[in-house]
């Protein structure tokens, strides 16, 4: 939008007023207002509250006009200043847009504004929160995962480099949430679970981000916490070209703490994949390039680039948008970590904590993201419309992890013999998501509409040749503390491959019928979907030993690596082989829903959805292995009702109930067996799916503009919740960690508050969510019985759900001046204490301490087309800290020396991750 502002001098009269939507009375932020006297036009832009003003005017006769995308312009409004004094004139624009509905979004208008999404929130039949593209653009975040933390009730789980990855919605961990793109569920590249890592989506590709917290019957029913719907940019009604380019860096890296980069291994495939499972691999089959190509970069430059081009052709019949986003970000963290021993001590107190290692780790993570999306819509006629949507996302994540073990806390360490462990690991994870959706809208007659989607999606994840070098040695000391000898305990080199592929073929269809019954238009919709999912995952790792005679002094190439026994190099002996699986899942769902007004102010949307799930899994295990394959099918009937009581044009009161489900992860059902931190972990083919009853109550106030006030409360009862805990399997002495359906229901309730208020150019936005969840699971208690000696029992312990924080909130201050072309935002995120890691032992859970992060971003218009923007993340260098709720002074003397700096008397700091500050600055071009 053009902003040209002329001001005359010497005169003192003013014309001011506001621009409103004629129908809704909402202020139209950003509307262009022009004032003509003679042949000299003056222009201004409506501010956040819709207001405009022209100062220092001569006493003349003026013509006032206003225009706004999606509205019929108002022109020639005469304002007479000849009589002296100021004038206030309000302008009312009529919308061109067809009515908003929950199925299709109006084709025109600026969908990317806060104002538009407030309208959507207000008009939506159920409880949801939306971030607009404008909001996202100004956010300090470049990925969808990080943007999600700005949504009320959402917290994020970070990767080792501090990048947000998964969203926890209302205390419900990622397994309880699903991810849609344009309303279509996409497969996950994750090898075990169904949830999608949200950091692979560049946020700039979004038109808006919806977090839907109450499901209607026409939505996929597998979300208990909520649904994240990524609505991608759609074709505009005129030529749009926008581009951006930025660069930046993390203050974590310097000459002293360089970024460790590496070239990925050229071995995309394992020896077994190339030569077959009977092939006996030797050291010569492996390439250590991922470790030997390590290079230090003192301050690597991160960069991002984006380009969006869209236009409409053939009398606006054909709309096309193409958008590309590229990010190359260098991040990292410095981590200190105490690893709990496999078993605590029974003395002096039951479950006295024991630590086996104290690690100092540095992570260097380079993330390359490429997002391409393209939408073509073709309006055949006013009754039929087709669109084709393509999305391709690719992410390469290179992580170099360097571990130095603090001297001496190894299990075999003593005061005169210190165990040290060094580890270098280079890992590349490549993830792809491709989605292609053909969508059709058809108006069959004036009461009947039909829309459909045909979808092909594929998600893949590859971890080619993760290379891991471990050196474990003992240093013998003399009485003076001088090292007298070094003994190589174990030099180990591991090459590991993982591949995962998940392909969906789906079809959706909805028939919407709008009869008039008893004088009101009722909407009846029926529809359904069918999905055919195909998934394969394979794993293999090769462990070589360094012969235990060559000490490591950065002489990696001289270590004579070999398999301990030659048979370990044979693919069919590989311990990972039994974790390989393939799954075919056929889902279908049908629903019927009706929307009507019970009386004028009360909108009722209700109905029922039936979801049928049928999956078949197969593993590579031979016929003698129980659980090697299986068929699992289940049907869920999910009723829901959503009431919206419109107190007046600006206030709603909502109440809803919905039933929903959460399907177990594919990898959880497979009878895998892999070594875990405490016990071996095994899969559970008998895992039942999770179901939930959800209640919501919300008051909404939309005073106009971007302002809003939402106060809500929710209650969830979760049946068959899946938790990981210790079980005996096969016999009394074989104990494993296994995903289990807890016998007890979990409950989760809380309250939410969202408030946004603008005062002219300055806005304040806060949201806060209180969540309270409880689940009871059996935990091990290891204690000293005076007669029977050391004993171990199961004891039930009640605790919050993993990842749930009691208090989460956001606060931000915004400055948006269309006049000087400057937008600024200071954003603060608070995530209260939450359960980070559930221990199999009573009272030994790890809690992440409250986390506070402060971010800043701004965008300043330089010319009509160019603007400069910047984003600063984690200004205060907030650390993620994890505590064990055990007074650190009670730990035994030997462990005391490895504790590091402690800051809470009643707790023990077991992990701290520092990410430092990330800066990004760039130029944006908009036509």
């Amino acid at each position: 939008m053009l902003i040209i502002c002329f001001t005359a001098t010497g005169y003192a009269q003013t014309i001011k007023g506001k621009v409103f939507d004629a129908k809704t009375g909402e202020p139209l932020v950003g509307a262009t207002v022009s004032l003509i006297a003679g042949n000299k036009p003056l222009y201004t832009t409506a501010r956040l509250d819709g207001s405009f003003s022209f100062y220092k005017l001569k006493p003349e006769l003026y013509q006032l006009a206003a225009q706004f995308v999606g509205y019929d312009p108002v022109t020639g409004k005469i304002v007479d200043l000849r009589g002296g004094g100021d004038q206030t004139v309000n302008l009312y624009l009529n919308s061109q847009a067809t009515q908003m509905s929950e199925v299709t979004i109006a084709a025109q208008g600026n969908h990317e504004s806060d104002r538009a999404v407030r309208s959507l929130e207000k008009a939506a039949p159920s409880v949801l929160n939306i971030l607009s593209a404008n909001t996202i653009q100004l956010l300090p975040d470049v990925t969808v995962a990080n943007a999600l933390q700005r949504v009320s009730g959402v917290t994020i789980q970070r990767s080792s480099s501090g990048e947000g990855r998964y969203a926890i919605i209302r205390g419900m961990a990622q397994r309880y949430n699903n991810t849609l793109v344009n309303g279509i569920k996409i497969p996950s590249p994750d090898d075990a679970y169904r949830f999608v890592p949200m950091d692979i989506f560049p946020s700039e590709m979004l038109e808006r981000l919806e977090v839907i917290k109450a499901l209607t019957p026409n939505m996929e029913g597998d979300a208990i916490g909520g649904t994240m719907n990524l609505v991608m940019k759609s074709a505009p009604d005129h030529l749009v070209v926008s581009a951006n380019l930025s660069g930046g860096m993390s203050s974590l890296f310097s000459g002293n703490r360089p970024f460790l980069s590496f070239k990925a291994s050229p071995n995309r495939q394992s020896p077994a994949m190339i030569h077959g499972n009977s092939y006996s691999a030797t050291y010569a089959d492996f390439n250590n390039n991922a470790l030997t190509s390590n290079k230090n970069l003192s301050s690597p430059l991160s960069s991002t680039a984006g380009l969006t081009v869209g236009d409409r052709f053939f009398n606006n019949k054909l709309g096309v948008i193409v958008s590309a986003s590229y990010q190359n970000i260098y991040r990292g963290s410095d981590s200190k970590q105490l690893t709990p021993n496999a078993q605590p001590s029974a003395i002096p107190l039951p479950n006295s904590p024991q630590f086996s290692d104290a690690y100092d780790r540095t992570y260097s993570t380079q993330t390359q993201r490429l997002g391409l999306h393209n939408k073509i819509d073709y309006v055949i006629n006013d009754k039929n419309k087709l669109s084709l949507y393509n999305l391709y996302i690719h992410q390469n994540e290179y992580t170099a992890r360097v571990t130095a073990d603090t001297l001496g806390l190894g299990l075999n360490s003593t005061n005169l013999s210190k165990q040290i462990t060094l580890e270098n690991r280079s890992q590349l994870i490549q993830q792809n998501i491709y989605n292609s959706t053909l969508h059709g809208d058809h108006v069959l007659n004036n009461k009947l509409r039909f829309n459909w989607d045909g979808v092909y999606s594929i998600a893949t994840r590859h971890m080619p040749d993760r290379t891991d070098f471990q050196y474990d040695a003992n240093k013998s000391l003399n009485n003076a503390g001088t090292v007298t000898a070094e003994v190589d305990n174990n030099t180990k080199l591991t090459h590991h491959w993982e591949n995962n592929r998940d392909r969906d073929l789906s079809g959706y269809g909805n028939l919407i019928y709008n009869p008039t019954i008893a004088g009101q238009t009722v909407e009846i919709a029926i529809g359904g979907l069918y999905r055919n999912k195909n998934r394969d995952a394979d794993y293999i790792s090769y462990s070589l030993t360094g012969g235990k005679s060559t000490l490591y002094n950065n002489n990696f190439d001289q270590i004579p690596f070999t398999f301990t026994t030659a048979s370990d190099g044979i693919g069919s002996n590989n311990p990972d082989l039994n974790n390989n699986y393939s799954v075919t899942e056929k889902d279908n769902a049908e629903y019927g829903q009706i929307k009507f007004r019970l009386f004028q102010k009360l909108q009722v949307l209700g109905g029922v959805r039936i979801e049928n799930t049928a999956m078949t899994y197969d593993t590579k295990s031979p016929a003698t292995v129980s659980q090697r394959s299986g068929n699992i099918s289940y049907t869920d009937v999910l009723p829901s009702i959503h009431l919206k009581y419109e107190l007046d044009g600006k206030q709603n009161l909502r109440a809803s109930y919905f039933a929903s489900l959460s399907r177990p992860g594919f990898g959880e059902i497979i009878p895998y067996n892999r070594p875990g931190e405490y016990y071996d972990e095994i899969g559970n083919p008998y895992l039942k799916h999770i179901t939930a009853d959800n209640l919501d109550l919300r008051y909404e106030l939309f005073p106009g503009g971007a302002d809003q006030l939402l106060i809500g409360t929710f209650f969830k009862k979760i049946h068959n919740p899946i938790e990981y805990f210790v079980v005996r399997q096969g016999g009394p002495s074989n104990q494993f960690i296994k995903p289990q359906n807890d016998e007890n229901d979990a409950t989760n309730y809380g309250a939410e508050l969202v408030a946004t208020k603008f005062f002219g150019t300055i806005g304040f936005s806060v949201n806060y969510t209180y969540t309270h969840s409880r689940i009871t699971t059996p935990k091990l208690n290891y204690y000293n019985d005076p007669t029977a000696g050391f004993q171990q029992d199961f004891v039930n312990q009640t605790r919050p759900l993993q990842g749930q924080a009691d208090h989460v909130g956001n606060a931000s201050i915004l400055y948006k001046s269309a006049k000087i072309g400057l937008d600024m935002q200071l954003a603060f995120v608070y995530t209260g204490e939450r359960l980070a890691q559930v221990s199999p032992y009573l009272n030994l859970d790890f809690y992440q301490h409250a986390y506070e992060q402060l971010d800043f971003s701004f965008e300043k218009k330089l010319t009509s087309h160019f603007s400069f923007y910047g984003k600063v993340n984690n200004i205060t260098n907030a650390a993620a800290k994890v505590y064990l709720k055990y007074p650190h002074s009670n730990l035994d003397a030997k462990q005391q020396e490895f504790l590091g700096k402690q800051d809470i008397a009643a707790q023990t700091l077991v992990q701290s991750d520092f990410y430092k500050t990330l800066f990004l600055g760039g130029i944006r071009y908009k036509l």
């Binding site: 360490s413 005061n415 002495s733 104990q735 050391f790």
Partner: protein, 474 residues
Amino acid sequence: MKKYIIPVVIVVLSASFSGCKKWNGEHTDIYNYTPPAANPISDKAPLSCSGGSSVVPVKGTMLSGKTYNVNDGCDIVINPADTLFMQPGVTLNMGARSSLIVLGTLISNGSKNQPNWITAPGLVKKDAPGAVTTAQDSAFAGHWKGIIGGPTCNLMVLRWTHVEYAGYTEGDATSKLASAGAGNQYSILFANYKGNFIMEDSWLYGGVDDPIRISAGKIAIFRNTFEKNGVHGGDCLNAKGGTTGTMAYNLFIGTATNGQKASNKGQATGAPQTNIVMYNNTFISGGYRQVQSGRGGCINYEEGAAGMFYNNVAVNCKYGFRVVGSPVADVAHLSYGNNFQYADSVSVANQFYPTGYITQPQQTDIPSIMTSAKYLPSGYKPGDIYDGSDVVRINNPMFLNFPLPTSGHALSDYNAVGSFNFHLQANSPLIGKGNTTIKPLIVVPLDKIYGLSDATPPGADLGCYQLNGTGNQH
């Protein structure tokens, strides 16, 4: 002449008396009926698996004097309700990569005159010190997988039985049949804390990782001989959380790490605390193939394990009797004494009380803890460095045939009995030094066949061989 008559008469009389006694005798040949085995297992064809399944279910009786062959890659499975009974004098030849999975009961009832063999056919033992390198020694190659006791195995008895050349990696299919671990390389696994594991008068030869892993169980391991156990690591008798019983009169030579280890790691809910009594065991040249530092070479108690160890002998072991301080053994319920150590070199003597650990020197230990001012000086605390030079090559145990001090070979080369003989000479310093007041911990049934046939009590002479002929019978 007269003076010779009486002695001559006495000699003649005594000779004829003893000669007449020799002529006495009684021979009986009474008809004795033993019902034939109900389910004799045929030795006509090899036990084979086919059709994509590796499993060969087996139950019944293997008959005296017969040789049974198991085909390569097959898993012999004794189902939970079944018993495999091996009469004395059975040879079971295990094919490459095969296994014997015991989900029910296994009784290998060999006898002194007719021992049983569970072995790999056609391999030649090269047992002279230094005859062959570890890499080239078939003892360490893991020819077949091992005897894998599943969680439902209620009784496993190995009596007068040779178990040889096992330790091949279990792999996915075998480990899932046995509810064990795919990476396991144990010659024998026992994993049921309610079950009984009895091994007496048997031999275990070769192996890859822990030759015997007791994940949990009630055990009695008496009078066995262990040779060449573990390639680069592995504790020969490795008892984990939930194991109770006795290990006594065993001879270990050339174990990779410890001969006997007790830990309460992984104690299952409902299982008892690990409590093992170890007495009169002999350890020769233990701990040398384990290159990791401080891992032990004879006896080791750690991580919550209780028990006692007395009357044991360690000769030229890389580390002495070791009690671990972190994670700490259950020292409040651990007692020990009357243990003997011999060192050819000062580096061995310097680790009689391993540096950094918490083994408390006892007044009854040999060599005496008062030997000299340098050896365990005043102010010595467990784990301190000390100078062992004054106890090198003292107290030669006087074995019947074993060169001490050794010469011509590294200590690590002594890893099989071969022609050596560790019985005691009459002038051995081990004689009469034993503590006979301690009691074995007998938790298994006492039975000639279905239990422990002889719970030999602690002996007066240190080590596994007693001058009076009791103890280890090999």
